[in-house]
Subunit: 690 residues, 2 copies
């Protein structure tokens, strides 16, 4: 029975990838527009390709090194650690290393497909929107779906194949670690890249020289548009890919920990939820349509909610017909509902319809400092509903499952996380739509399309922002539940070795671990943000140099050297990743090998607590500043050019690295730290100083 | 033996208070200057008195209500809870309520004395400095010592008397809770008051109307100077008073928990450390002298370090001659050294001699947004050395004590905290000096003293900032160790009732508690900062109204209505305290009564972790922005009036509520939460929903 579901998993995964490929060719068949438009799109495409090439070269190196370490370490048979005798079994090591690389490769392929279609779809969406708003929408959304469907398809294929071959959920952990390591570098690197280019382009272009956004005379304009793709498409996709896989693996491990026949049955259950999620997403995607006078934003939200409903029904049918305990249904449902609810409360803090954005816009009259203090404060307040939501979801999922007498409470938490993330196919489609239409707008401007087209592209663009609020709430709360499940999985992996794990806060070693863990997310945020300002500085110098040495650029008679800026951004972003990557992978190992498994447990806990808080705070504060600037631009409090607007621009610029660099990388950071800890737990359990 | 130390405690406390009174009269004998200067000082004095009157009225109400609750709750004899029978013993309740009020009153008296002398010393220091720099320094420093010595004296008297009468360290907890409740309201209220006035005065005065700082034409200038006193003198004093008492009580409780003769002996030990600290401070204060060409800042730092050395020698003598275990000496020493070391690392992030401040000043060229991102990032990075320092101190103190076989490891942590705080007499003297010379400078400006005097006052002022870096590092790290000890004390109080406390991170209830606790400090910060901007807004309207309705004010022909602004600031600050106070006292009780003692343990842990991180981050980021603005003002990157300077001013204004409102209140917040939890622990242990 369980076995056959794994085959279904492989088939559904292939189906999902197949649809993605079909949509890819559909997008490619659309009109790519005038020569001018194609030229502009070509620059962006080249820039994106050159970044990906560098990124993947760097990643190959990382994967090889980490793969070798894994191959060596896991050659020592750790299930034997009870005795003083340690077996040497290289087959184990090679298997784990291969699985790790497989995870990284799957994640890379999904990101690559997403990027490739995005940089083709942007110009096609711009051309299509000149025909009709709906057509532009359709091109962008289907292009987004390419990544969404490729991602979930590859993930399910990977997990099914590995579990089919090994029957061991701990091996799937290696797959997840591979995917997450790649995700961390893609997300943080992309985040640094995109904001470096964005800030530099704005500061010199808009502020110093006074040319508009997306003006082709700006040497950084191509880098800025490339940034949207590498940061928001590839980075974000990798981010959800990693939560998706990690939550499934965590739930599988917690299922396996229950042992016996029940354990086997419930180890596969999370994978089945993913399979149902694929079908729900495939159906949901068909229903995303903009009616005659409909709004694109409503269409995206409708698609998400509709997918949730279909998925909810599917789980109910599965649980009833498959002989699973009803508590598993409730746990999954709680996760699903919490994700949506948190998404909507996020909107309260970041939408211009509510007090926080309005108030921040209003106080901007008194200067940038007050804008910052107010937005910062509301950003901090915004964690309240999400944290309470996560706490309630966790307690309900745990208690419902525990009360069943069939599955363990902690497994319930794992299932809640999977319940949230199973519909990632749809979530990613709606999310990847945003940067594509953002790019479409940029190309329309740079290629000198008509004003009317740019206006329609703006409508598509703002719909992307609305959808983002919900999908962002989804992904952060899902990551929170995922890492809570991974945290439990870490304990299970340790105790499966017969070693008692004591992570009581009454132990000073554990408290030491928690304090060190708690400081890691803020330090990580600081490092990535300092990289942004540092790299932006270099790029600002380069832009000024080009304007200075070639006056024809500003006169519009000569093209600037786009490539130079593109490569500056790429080099800067990649070299900035070394320290953050060490924090993510090296620090947990250091803490584990020096202070021991109990302290490492505390460390993970601490990292999760502040990681979730900082991720929520930074994402929401950034969104709030962005939208209060936009609110002022609608003519409130003096509109464009007023003192309030200047202050709003400062807020928006501060918010940029908050919401697009530091904030979203934190999800991945805590996932990677949890995974590396679980993976190395068996070894740390024996070798540690204290 | 132990008994006799308590009498020594009362005598030393009286001595300390006696010296404080002597210094008070010495300060009052100094020349109070011209009529004009006295008039200006009189406005400030009146404003401060009217705020204190309101504050103490509000506090009386709070004390009565909380006192009544305590009287009722503690009338039920909770040591009987093992059986289903609960004794009703009103004497217990009344005793606890009286002790609570006693704590609040002692703290209030110390704050009142500090304020009273500060508002007399400011003008006298300004007059003295016109004679000689050293004389101005002496007046200000001795005035600061009045509060420092009064504070430690009253605290030691209070704790000695209560322990002498009851012999129960848990009753002393009530005294500490009283002191901390007052401290929280004084600190948060003062912090909101001072920044409301500061920001409003600057935004209208400097930015809109273009008059200099401390200009008498500004209606908010008196409120601004009053703010320095209520925020920095009274508030800060109350803050250290509460850490001082709380750390001593926590160590006493942990000592008592060891039981038997050892327990009795070591319950009094922390009090003896306080007594020695008083003597060390009394000696240290005599050695704070500015040499002929010496710098005031060096004199203050020398005083602090010298006091530390004397105190270290004293502990060694005590431990050897008193038959205490050497591990107690090492634990206290570790605390002392860590405090100093953290103080100096704090300087790295906030002094203009090092990279963070220089770099932030440099990037200010590119606008305020980059200033904010850079300062914010360095602020986050600055938590690294402090957290590592706290972790090392905690682990050493614990392991040294545990290895002794005599005292418990957790008691070692308590002693380390007391070791840091025992010299608070000296620390507060150096810290209170700052706002006094800040005021002296303001009075010199407003009273139209000569330029030469203002320059000398500036020298005194900048010395205050240097000293602040160290004392601030001291107080935050001491608070961190204190709350860790209080956290352990909470566990002891619960287990003393025969109830097992399980605060393992593997329990979802505990994790729920930690998440809720972890979000409390950021929410608290947000609420106090929003109060600042909100109240500043009202005051800005009032200032504009005065300028509009009476043009003679700006012309310098008529005086503005200072009182109106003073009372606006006071009302705003006090009414803003309701929600934060609820968070501090109500939320732990809610969590405890609903989710139970385990979750409450997690809650405290979570609050401590993020509380320490946010306190460090906000204090240091604020200091960094302040000093990078000052660095630009020395002529760097274009100096005053340049784009870099404008950006620096924005950073400074954002940093103001960080470092003076939200950041420093967090210490007190987590102390109050820990105390209220420990105090109510016996009741929560029986009555809770889950």
């Amino acid at each position: 029975m369980a076995q056959s579901w794994l085959y279904v998993g492989i088939v559904s995964g292939l189906l999902s990838v197949g649809v993605a490929v079909y949509l890819y060719f559909w997008v490619m068949r659309q009109d790519a527009g005038s020569e001018k438009a194609q030229q502009v799109a070509g620059w962006i495409r080249e820039g994106a390709a050159s970044y990906l090439k560098r990124l993947y070269s760097a990643l190959t190196l990382v994967a090889v090194v980490l793969g070798l370490v894994i191959a060596i370490v896991f050659s020592f048979n750790m299930t034997q650690i009870g005795s003083s005798h340690v077996d040497f079994n290289p087959a184990n090591g090679v298997q784990m290393a291969l699985v790790f690389v497989f995870g990284a490769v799957c994640s890379a392929i999904a990101g690559y497909m997403g990027m490739t279609v995005a940089v083709q779809a942007n110009v096609r969406s711009a051309v299509a929107v000149s025909e009709h708003l709906n057509k532009g929408f359709k091109v962008a959304f289907f292009a987004g779906s390419v990544m969404g469907l490729a991602m979930v398809g590859l993930a399910v294929i990977g997990m099914s194949v590995i579990y089919l071959l090994t029957g061991d959920a701990e091996v799937v952990l290696g797959f997840s670690f591979g995917a997450s390591t790649l995700a961390l570098l893609a997300k943080a690197g992309g985040g640094i890249y995109t904001k470096t280019a964005d800030i530099a382009a704005d500061l010199v272009g808009k502020v110093e020289v006074g040319i508009p956004e997306d003006d082709p005379r700006n040497p950084a304009v191509v880098a800025d548009n490339v940034g949207d793709n590498v940061g928001d498409v590839a980075g974000m996709g990798a981010d959800i890919f990693d939560s998706y896989v990690a939550s499934t693996v965590a739930a599988m491990l917690l299922g396996a920990a229950m042992g016996g026949e029940i354990g086997q049955k419930y180890t596969v259950f999370p994978l089945i939820l993913c399979i149902l999620g694929i079908f729900a997403s495939l159906i949901g995607i068909q229903f995303v349509r903009v009616g005659k006078n409909g709004k694109p934003g409503d269409a995206l939200n409708f698609g998400t909610v509709f997918t949730c409903i279909i998925f909810g029904v599917m789980i109910a049918v599965l649980v009833i017909t498959g002989g699973y305990d009803m508590s598993a249904f409730w746990a999954a449902l709680v996760g699903l509902i919490t994700g949506v609810v948190i998404g909507f409360t996020t909107e309260f803090f970041t939408s211009e319809d509510f007090k926080p954005v309005k108030e921040t816009a209003k106080v901007s009259n008194s200067g940038a400092a007050i804008t910052i203090i107010t937005g910062f404060s509301y950003g901090l307040l915004s964690i309240l509903p999400s944290i309470i939501g996560i706490v309630i979801a966790m307690l309900i999922a745990y208690n419902v499952a525990e009360a069943s007498g069939v599955i363990s409470g902690i497994y319930g938490i794992g299932v809640a996380a999977v319940g949230m993330l199973a519909i990632s196919g749809m979530i990613v489609s709606a999310d990847a739509y945003g940067p594509i239409v953002d790019n479409a707008r940029g190309i329309a401007e740079m290629a000198g399309m008509e004003h009317d087209v740019i206006e329609k592209a703006d409508v598509l663009d703002s719909a992307g922002n609305t959808a983002k609020a919900i999908t962002k709430g989804f992904s952060i709360s899902a990551a929170a539940l995922t890492v809570l499940a991974l945290f439990a999985a870490y304990a299970e992996v340790i105790e499966a070795r017969g070693i008692e794990l004591n992570i009581s806060l009454r132990s000073p070693l554990v408290v030491a671990g928690v304090l060190l863990g708690a400081m890691t997310p803020p330090i990580f945020s600081a490092l990535t943000m300092l990289s942004v300002t540092h790299n932006a500085f270099d790029m600002i110098e380069e832009i000024r140099r080009q304007f200075r040495e070639n006056p024809d650029i500003l006169a519009g008679k000569d093209l600037p050297d786009y490539k130079k800026c593109v490569s500056l951004a790429a080099e800067g972003a990649l070299s900035s990743l070394i320290l953050p990557a060490f924090l993510a992978v090296g620090l947990p190992l250091l803490v584990g090998f020096i202070l021991g498994p109990d302290a490492l447990g505390g460390f993970l806990g601490g990292a999760i607590f502040t990681g979730v808080i900082f991720a929520l705070f930074m994402a929401n504060a950034g969104g709030l500043w962005d939208n209060s600037k936009k609110y002022i631009e609608t003519g409130q409090f003096g509109g464009v050019g007023s003192e309030a607007h200047k202050a709003g621009v400062v807020g928006d610029t501060v918010g940029d690295p908050f919401k697009d660099t530091a904030g979203p990388s934190l999800n991945t950071l805590i996932t990677v730290m949890s995974l590396v800890s679980s993976l190395f737990a068996p070894i740390i359990a024996i070798f540690h100083m204290f």
